[in-house]
Subunit: 544 residues, 2 copies
């Protein structure tokens, strides 16, 4: 077990005084929101870490973010991380912990992977109080005339539990309320998670919570959380959860780890307040976006940057030689063997992401190759050769085995590229229709030939346009494993993006477009990770 | 808003060093379990605060506990409180906060009433992981041959939500698991809450979790959490929650506030570890038990004392003149008016509790009269006169308006009575049958004439005896408002206690006998407290 430094020391190292530090034990803390809000604006730099399309071979986006920050520290920069906090559910399922690995890790990893500072619990509690208030309103006479069939608020829980995906509630007679069909999502998939991650302040949080649409009246008008007088209570539940959490890497780099929205039906980035906290307390902030750049970086820019005004100064695209070979058709069991030809074929995936970031989003781009022992010089040279025409460098990083020392080259390259001017551009303007926004993302980023709409999706879209939500950005939920909605490797073109459903996330401030099916509640595997976890003599094992 | 002292100062005042203090912000902390376990045994005194049968007129058990501790401090004693933590669900429903009131309060009250240090969330998470593991086991082939109709683990959530009382899960096809009828209890009603509150150490917690019976095989044999390999993961989830929380009263008296099990289907006392922490760090510990002495004190002694070896040195029974009049037949709207005759009639309730504590449980007893402005000298004299034949004093306390200064007389009386020898006795021995235990509690404490058993209850009881659970203590869930299962005021005798259901709580180490119906998930009222709660400029309003 590795012992982290006292969190107060880490905090002091970036100018956070003890009064502004709300400690959770010796090695975790929240930072006071009022103190953060009082800081003068500072021109520091923001690096977005994103990735090629994820594969079972693994890319290591989080370890690269951590390694890069540690490497920058080793060069004397005041680098600070802003990352998502893990969901506890998957820790007991297939995935295990989500705090990096090797020598590129966050501490205290067990705590971060379990309850951490209680943010997920608070988000679930707020979500579930709102759901209970809606049902309670209907039970006690339904003065707002809510159509029970229209209720959009599901319940939330941070457990992988397939049994709760689709349930019937209020059985057992009159005193148990009005029978309803509903279900639970994992907490990370709740709208309130996205709301918390996009909120700029307590007041903004309250505003966003007020705007949540819980369902419709029988006459078609919408009913908001504000009309249920719920926004104050939800804000109260979330008042501590809104403050960013501070922890550290194995090498003592400060890390704000806060918020963990899904990267499909939400925008998949840590909280805006955590990123702002990092920007205000360091000289370079390293943050990351979920999945590949087609999903994570697109939403980071089109949703988070648009809403917050934040702009990345550089985008780092994480790739591995193994994952490139996988995209070139090599099965995962064979990705260790040299195969320059397959790598060249699969590199189309990386090149497409790089092109998009440059051409669609105006980014300075650098490629980070997360090194494996099995990478060969010929393979590494092939990647460099392929990127050269785009004017983009690929820098190898061995942070997993070497920590920050292994990321020095990457850190130097980042510092050099940060000297280049950068101007972030959006994929679509605010003032085109939701359908046009979908068309622009599909054709410009996914390189689809067309967008198809189900009848229901088209009807919902029209309704949202009519109710004035047309100016919101869109959040497309689709397979993360490909530019297409189906699993097409490499860099497919001309495919069709099939939108099957549309959901309003008025509090978060976006409209979700679902391409294919989307899983908002995972299940446990036949041999869940839970059975390997134990505590003996106060030591927890089996979690990592 | 009242500002508490830094919790590190409070901790140091009772000898807890900074290294052993796991702070949660500036004014809450957990105390390291290993440090607590390392303390040498110390002969300090334990005062149990219990009460007459509760009424809508209010008795003020928690405020009296707090006032008494503050009063003892004012006299120079090192008094420390050990109390239950509130459930968040009812905060948004009918009840509001549960941290005392007036000048007899715990700080920081908003935090304690909301998430506090996350214990309830951890307990719900452990409970719900266990439920998911059971369903997952059946979904993936059911190697243990669990009869799905036998599953005893419901899910838990800390929200008042009637819609979740009775649900059907796993709708929507094969991939969503095996259809089941189940429901959610409020977290305080979960077996894991009782387990945590009775656990003596991490190892004991793990042992207790292992013993939880999740259901039966088709062949009738029982299936435990251990057989699902779940105990390690549940212990991991609860590892921080097991450590007692330290806060303070308005007057700076240290208070361990930890665990909040229901006082009907569980034993209704704070954690054993919190009581031990208080005993180890002070000279007098004030703790309380839920509801009236027939429920709370009985379970405190017959369950908690029996399991832990703890023994109260004195029992303080809280009463109010108003509540006595209510028990004497005065409607709640009229309890402010002097009515000595009704008071005399209703005092039968108080006298019965005092007699039980003395005769059945061997307690030194003192009555604390929680004063109201409307109490008259004639009424107070009548209470004193009625208690005199029992050799018990009634001492008035004005802690609600005056804080510890208002409890000086009560504190002096407590100190005097602590000089008397005390020997706690149980209502029933361990080695009689469960039915005989029920008979002894019913006739000796409730003064019932008989116990009746439903067919199902009798069958379950027989099964438990056969499976070797006959030596466990019993935990009777019945109406708290009367010695009877129905609402009979005063001191009824000769009634029948109807046991309608029996539930094993093997992890907690007791068998629950349900008399009448028992509510394990509250609902929200038509005008829930939630609608009055708000946060503006960082200040929370409407919670108290």
């Amino acid at each position: 077990m590795t012992h982290p430094q006292p969190i107060a020391d880490i905090a002091r190292s970036i100018g956070i005084p003890d009064e502004a530090l709300l400690r959770y034990g010796h090695d975790k803390a929240k930072v006071d929101l009022d103190w953060l809000a009082s800081l003068p604006p500072r021109r520091t730099r923001l690096v977005l870490v994103t990735a090629m399309s994820p594969t079972p071979a693994g890319e290591g986006k989080t370890t690269t973010s951590i390694g890069l920050a540690d490497g920058l520290r080793a060069l004397g920069e005041e680098a600070v991380l802003a990352l998502r906090e893990p969901s506890m559910g998957p820790v007991f399922g297939m995935k295990g912990g989500a705090t990096g690995g090797g020598r590129a890790r966050l501490l205290p990893e067990d705590d971060i992977n379990l309850h951490f500072t209680g943010d997920f619990a608070a988000i679930a509690a707020a979500n579930n109080l709102l759901a209970a208030l809606v049902d309670n309103h209907i039970h006690h006479g339904n003065a707002l005339d809510i159509d029970p069939r229209s209720i959009e608020i599901r319940r939330a829980i941070d457990v992988n539990d397939r049994s709760l995906r689709h349930i019937v509630t209020s059985l057992g007679g009159r005193s148990n309320g009005v029978l309803a069909e509903t279900g639970f999502d994992i907490t990370a998939a709740s709208q309130i998670m996205a709301v918390l991650c996009l909120a700029e302040s307590r007041d903004d949080l309250r505003e966003r919570l007020s705007r949540i649409v819980v369902g419709e009246r029988y006459d078609g008008g919408e009913v908001t959380a504000a009309e249920l007088s719920a926004a104050g209570a939800l804000t109260a539940i979330l008042k501590d959860a809104l403050a960013p959490n501070l922890v550290q890497t194995l090498e003592g780099t400060p890390a704000f780890v806060h918020g963990g929205p899904f990267a499909n039906i939400a925008h998949g980035c840590n909280s805006v307040l955590a990123t702002r906290a990092a920007l205000a307390t360091g000289t370079i902030t390293i943050t990351e976006a979920g999945f590949g750049a087609d999903l994570g970086a697109e939403k980071f820019i089109d949703i988070l940057c648009r809403q917050s005004g934040l702009r990345p100064d550089l985008s780092v695209v994480v790739a591995t030689v193994r994952a490139l070979k996988y995209h070139g058709g090599v099965p995962v069991r064979d990705v260790a063997a040299e195969n320059v030809e397959a790598l060249r074929a699969g590199a189309s995936n990386l090149l497409r992401h790089v092109e998009n970031l440059k051409d669609v989003f105006g980014q300075n781009v650098l490629v980070a190759l997360n090194a494996f022992d099995t990478d060969t010089p010929a393979e590494l040279q092939a990647v460099a050769d392929l990127l050269e025409p785009l004017g983009v460098r690929a820098v190898t990083s061995t942070h997993f085995t070497d920590g920050g020392a292994g990321s020095i080259d990457l850190a130097r390259a980042v510092l050099a590229d940060l000297e280049k001017p950068s101007e972030t551009t959006f994929c679509y303007p605010e003032d085109v229709s939701l359908a046009e926004k979908a068309h622009l993302v599909a054709t410009r980023v996914y390189r689809a030939g067309a967008v198809s709409w189900s009848k229901g999706a088209r009807r919902k879209l029209r309704g949202l346009e009519e109710r004035g939500y047309g100016r919101l950005p869109i959040c497309i939920a689709k397979s993360p494993y490909s530019f297409a909605a189906e699993k097409l490797m490499g860099a497919p073109s001309g495919h069709t993006l099939p939108i099957t459903d549309v959901r309003l996330s008025a509090g978060a401030g976006f409209v979700v477009l679902i391409a294919g099916s989307v899983m908002t509640m995972p299940g446990l595997p036949a041999q869940p990770n839970a059975v390997d976890i134990d505590v003996a003599d106060g030591v927890l094992t089996g979690l990592q």
